[in-house]
């Protein structure tokens, strides 16, 4: 379920401030999104880079070895805006479908 949306979340966390791979995982977790069970972010980052949605550069990290930093490109920001809109539409639709059910988890 999260697979396609994860691209979008990755774009979102490097929209304001560039980050390297693990930093992105940390930002996702800090915002309440655990990536466990969703596969690795590296192939997704590679695809975003290839499609020109993120720009990359190498720089020293705080007290660590040089890292590959990612940030959203202008094209990526547009994709993000569009994707976020599409996601809200889907979410609204799913919410309204699910709100009509009275099934509940038995505790």
């Amino acid at each position: 379920m999260l697979r396609g949306v994860l691209d979008l979340c990755l774009l979102a966390v490097v929209d304001d401030e560039p980050a390297y791979g693990y930093e992105m995982t940390k930002r996702l977790r800090a915002r309440g999104l655990a990536t466990v069970g969703e596969g690795s972010i590296y192939p997704l980052l590679a695809r975003l880079e290839r499609e020109g949605l993120v720009a990359t550069y190498r720089a020293a990290s705080d007290g660590g070895p040089p890292r590959k930093y990612y940030r959203a490109s202008p094209l990526g920001r547009r994709e993000l805006a569009e994707g976020a809109r599409a996601w809200r539409e889907v979410r609204a639709g799913v919410d309204s479908v699910l709100s009509s059910t009275d099934a509940e988890v038995e505790t």
């Binding site: 390297y20 791979g21 693990y22 995982t25 940390k26 655990a34 990536t35 466990v36 969703e38 596969g39 690795s40 972010i41 590296y42 192939p43 997704l44 590679a46 695809r47 880079e49 290839r50 499609e51 020109g52 990290s61 660590g64 070895p65 890292r67 590959k68 094209l75 547009r78 994709e79 569009e82 809109r85 599409a86």
Partner: protein, 190 residues
């Protein structure tokens, strides 16, 4: 964990990923894993899976560093050259025949050595620009270029209904044959 990265290195080498790029990926991965370990985060959360070969292959392939998925690669590469060789031999024989029987075309054609180069079918194709086109036309062009098509209907926002608003991958880049192009199409106003 370092064994995992080593396996990745081996797999990238096997797949023909340029050494510099493979080393870059391995170093980044090692640095990220080391940092995660300090934070007490399981390597599994970073790697997403336990099979280093599959992990390495999918990363390299998404970066565009692997020409084609391994199973189809051999066959796809080989047969254009076989066809090329057959056509080449045929041309030489025909040329030689013309020389001996004197049935050459115009002046200078007899005795001229012609070479026919049959290029291998490229594994990647240039992505055409489809934005602004009617959906049907855009889809037809995408398929003719060797891509699959996925249409997503979006609010028109001023665009003409039924036309392509955005495309992914963008035009101008090269994408593997069979890649699914996502076309966002302006739907009709309700």
């Amino acid at each position: 964990v370092s064994a995992f990265v080593e396996e990745c290195r081996r797999e990238w080498k096997r797949l023909g990923v340029p050494e510099l790029l493979a080393e870059e990926m391995a170093t980044d991965l090692e640095a990220d894993l080391a940092e995660a370990r300090e934070d007490g985060v399981a390597a599994e959360e970073i790697l997403g899976e336990s099979d280093p070969r599959r992990f390495a292959a999918s990363w390299a392939s998404e970066r565009g560093l692997v020409p084609d998925p391994p199973p189809g690669r051999e066959r796809r590469r080989r047969w254009p050259w076989v066809v090329g060789a057959i056509v080449g031999v045929w041309v030489l024989l025909a040329g030689g025949g013309a020389l001996f029987t004197g049935v050459g075309g115009g002046e200078g054609s007899a005795g001229t050595i012609r070479t026919l180069v049959v290029p291998p079918i490229p594994a990647t194709r240039a992505v055409p620009r489809l934005v602004g086109m009617k959906a049907a036309r855009a889809s037809a062009i995408a398929r003719a270029s060797g891509f699959e098509v996925r249409r997503v209907y979006v609010r028109p926002h001023g665009a003409r209904a039924g036309t392509v608003v955005t495309q992914r991958p963008r035009s101008g880049v090269r994408a593997r044959r069979g890649t699914t192009m996502t076309l966002r199409i302006a739907r009709r106003r309700r």
